[in-house]
Amino acid sequence: MKVTKDLVAASATPMVLGILADGESYGYAILRRINELSGGELDWTEGLLYPLLHRLERLGHVESSWQSVPGERRRKYYRITTSGLAELAEQRRQWDTVVNALKEIWVGPDGGRRSAAFPLAGPA
């Protein structure tokens, strides 16, 4: 199963901001981390990630800097800013709303299965 393009695009910003909230990182590592977290189901391309990082930087949600760690290549690292943290909190509220609503529909308030749809797997 592959997640549809629309859904990938909609969830991209909170995912990147969320990963950067754990500490600064660079493009390739972010892509690996997303792949890992989704068990390979989220099909991100570089054409999605890098323009997104640049947009977040333009909006002031992340900052970037070129760093050379000894023994490694010069790399562009991204770090989340205060405004990025606020944006992440906001996106999280919105996603919680969506996820909770979907849970209500699919699982029902009493925890029983109400519809023929697949139940949510794992924590939302």
């Binding site: 493009g27 570089e46 999605l48 890098y50 323009p51 333009r58 070129w66 010069r74 562009k76």
Partner: protein
Amino acid sequence: MTAMDGQDGLEAQFTQWRHYVQRRPELQPSDAEELEDHLRGSVDQLVAAGLRADEAFLVAVKRLGGLDDLSREFAREHSDRLWKQLVLTGGTTDPATDTRSRRDLVAMVSCAAGAAVSIKVPELFGMSLEQDAGFYAANFALFALPWLAAFLAWRRRARPALIGVLLALFALGAVAANAYPLADDSQSLVLTSIHLPIALWFVVGLAYVAGDLRSSRRRMDFIRFTGECFVYFVLIALGGGVLMAFMFGTFEAIGIEPEGFISQWLVPSGVVAAVVVAGWLVEAKQSVVENIAPVLTRLFTPLFTAVLLAFLVALGWTSAGIDVEREALILFDLLLVVVLGLLLYSISARDPLAPPGLFDKLQLALVLSALVIDVLVLGEITQRITEYGTTPNKAAALGENVILLANLAWSAWLMLGFARRRTPFAALERWQTGYLPVYAGWAWIVVLVLPPLFDYL
């Protein structure tokens, strides 16, 4: 294959990939570097998983996605980059380019300032713009063009021999403008004022091609430079006009008359400095924006063709013949020069390998009608010269008409051959670039030979 070979081969592939990426206008050097780091990370992982280096590279590039898609995504985020930026406004990430453009800027400002100051120098010797209009008219180019040539020579790191030649030619121009005893109302003075800038512009061309005179490509570059320089100069002049209008209005509103400052300082110094600035702008922007002169050419070639054909039809209809007054004579010469300019700039912008198309036929019609007009004018001038004798004006006009006639006739022949796919386009290009010295030679003759020949009339 040893591990070393694999590593070297891989580096070569990375280099190739980098060149490929850098050709994309949407991707800046820092993006390319970021993406390369990504690619390297991906390759490292694949190699660790057991792939050979070259296999890993192929897979990693494939995963990175088509460069077209990638560029499109970058373009969507950075649409400003497609509006190519002027190097001057900064923001390049390449320090070498930065230093270079800053040094260019300093050189340009020095030359422009030099030009602006030099035009005020004669005042130290008691000259003034109002009373010595003749002197300034004849010498105007000498205050601007040597500075532009100096900037270009500096940029091209001209050899001392070339600098010597440039200095000698400008000195010769100064002699031509000032050594002859020309009255303020003489025909020769007007001719010198028109032809000396042309003659000196070719000296600037010498600095532009940096002594590489025989190269047809370099000459074509100089033609492009000329057109763009003119366009920028006009734009700067328009901006200058707006500046002056505001200056005039605002200062007058507080009771200060800026008129003297504007006409004595701002206009003369501004014009000569603007020549240098325009030249610098062309140099700074040549790889950054599309050229505008060829675009104007495309726009105006059909219009000029229509006007010329209409004129010829009307001429045949009324069967009046051209009655050449002095002003009309100059007008027709200018018209032919414009036609030649249209021809030159469409040649300069054309892909030499493209097959002949409708536009080329249109241009052939333009050249042919110009040719007919040239012949008519030429007939009229010769008739007048045999009737009333010759003057410097008529001699200069005659020479120009003959020169243009020769150029247009041979151009028409080459274009006809090209339209019929008999002659390669390059022949036309070579003909036009090879003809440049003829214009330069004639301009110098008018400036140097005609005045004594006609007894400084």
